[in-house]
Symmetry: C2
Amino acid sequence: MTVELEKSPRPVGRLKIQKRADLVTEEIKQLITQKNLRPGDKLPMEKELQRLFSVSKSTIREALKSLEVQGLITISTGPTGGATIMEVPLERTFQLLQNYLFFKEVSMEDIYAARRLLEPELAAGSVPFLSDEQLAALEQNIQTCQPASQEPSLLVRQRQADLDFHDILAAANPNPFLRFACELINEMLRRLVVFSTQTPPEEHTRFGCANVKIHTEIAKAARARDSERVRALMKAHMEEASEYVKRLDGRLDGRLILDSEMAPRPRPLS
Amino acid sequence: MTVELEKSPRPVGRLKIQKRADLVTEEIKQLITQKNLRPGDKLPMEKELQRLFSVSKSTIREALKSLEVQGLITISTGPTGGATIMEVPLERTFQLLQNYLFFKEVSMEDIYAARRLLEPELAAGSVPFLSDEQLAALEQNIQTCQPASQEPSLLVRQRQADLDFHDILAAANPNPFLRFACELINEMLRRLVVFSTQTPPEEHTRFGCANVKIHTEIAKAARARDSERVRALMKAHMEEASEYVKRLDGRLDGRLILDSEMAPRPRPLS
DNA sequence: AAATCCGGTTTATAATGATAAATAGAATAG
DNA sequence: CTATTCTATTTATCATTATAAACCGGATTT
């Protein structure tokens, strides 16, 4: 089976001519959709793909690179090596989204405007689906968040641990879209929040205490499987947090996120 | 100025070794952040980049390809050619997001769960910022949406025109994050919705009429700069639409979106 | 004088071949 | 039986050459 690619620079139907490598990328994508390849399935190896599309090594290499950057495949060397379909990792998606938002000026309040709306619904929707492990993880998380020292770097780490609480809730929600939206918000807050060092540490500590308090209540209501109470508590939590954030002068540190920065976030158990 | 890249396979600090090309990609990203390059600025040409990072042609090519796929640069030939920084297009971001959602099973209702929450707030927030052109565009859009025929392909196109209404509202909102979230939702609905052909056309027409009616009211309230009324109307609109969608058996057509499909959406005037 | 053509220059794009590095699995030593 | 070394296979990287696209400026035409 050989797929024929248009070789001549397309008669210009007002469509911009595409590069060879990009055409091959699309062909491969169609192959994936067509043959309904699932994560774990393998693409033919480079040499075969070269033959299949009648292109050179460097072209097929670029095409594979494109798919790799998009997070659709991983490439490995050695026997049995080659391109393997994979489910696009959440982290990769975040990174690509950060590229988009790099040039926009997103403020903390902008994000909270969406967070206020989504989180209560997310939390309420998660309640019926929380496993015992997840409930335990919520309670466990509250312990780690107890405000201890006022050492600056520790304060930031604590704020980030706060966000783990919300990630655990998100993980339990059956709505993949809502889940994604909230995980995105958490990730942005986690990664980009740089609180002004001007802010007095007491303010931070107070923020931490308030969080622990309401998280405790939410965890309790979740154990009682009281969705409506969780929703109400989360709503209050979000409004309170909005206020704190305004005062804390949180701002987003807009820069390009590197792959090497993307690794080590402990995934909450699903 | 020459940047030295670690050449030896990194002493394995539990970090997975990265490919040369990916290291170069990161170096270039740092270059962009560091030198604060803005859209329109140019990267050095390939030969220079080769020298700068002491890598071969194909390696630098792969690195540039990576940045191109991420939407951060465009590459052109000719004397003034080379890599030019660009603002990541919204469409590219959508596409990369679709890759992520390709493997998840997102239902229509999943999306509407988020839409119900976000759209009323978005619309209300846009009201004070709507320009005369945008108000006119809203009213204009309602005209094009008047249900005419019941021809199947036309019905789908009409549903998509409905979404333009919401895109116009989104474009006026000053919150870039909320705007992005709603534009994403619109795009997903626009591109991926495939209504069951089982559904009787009358039902579609009724849906279209209901939309026109409430869009008309929303446009009127927007002209009157009545944010609260717009919020309330949009809330009702979303709830009504949710119900219709359930009955219409709308589902998402999960597949990989190709570059070639990404082009021709008329951007609403900002 | 303005527009068009045309060839040269610059740059990316594509192809090919050669060598290095990584890996899985078999063979082997302890 | 375990751990190590070996080997075959495949990608990763480099180097070189050829091709194609885009731009520039001068000559030619209108």
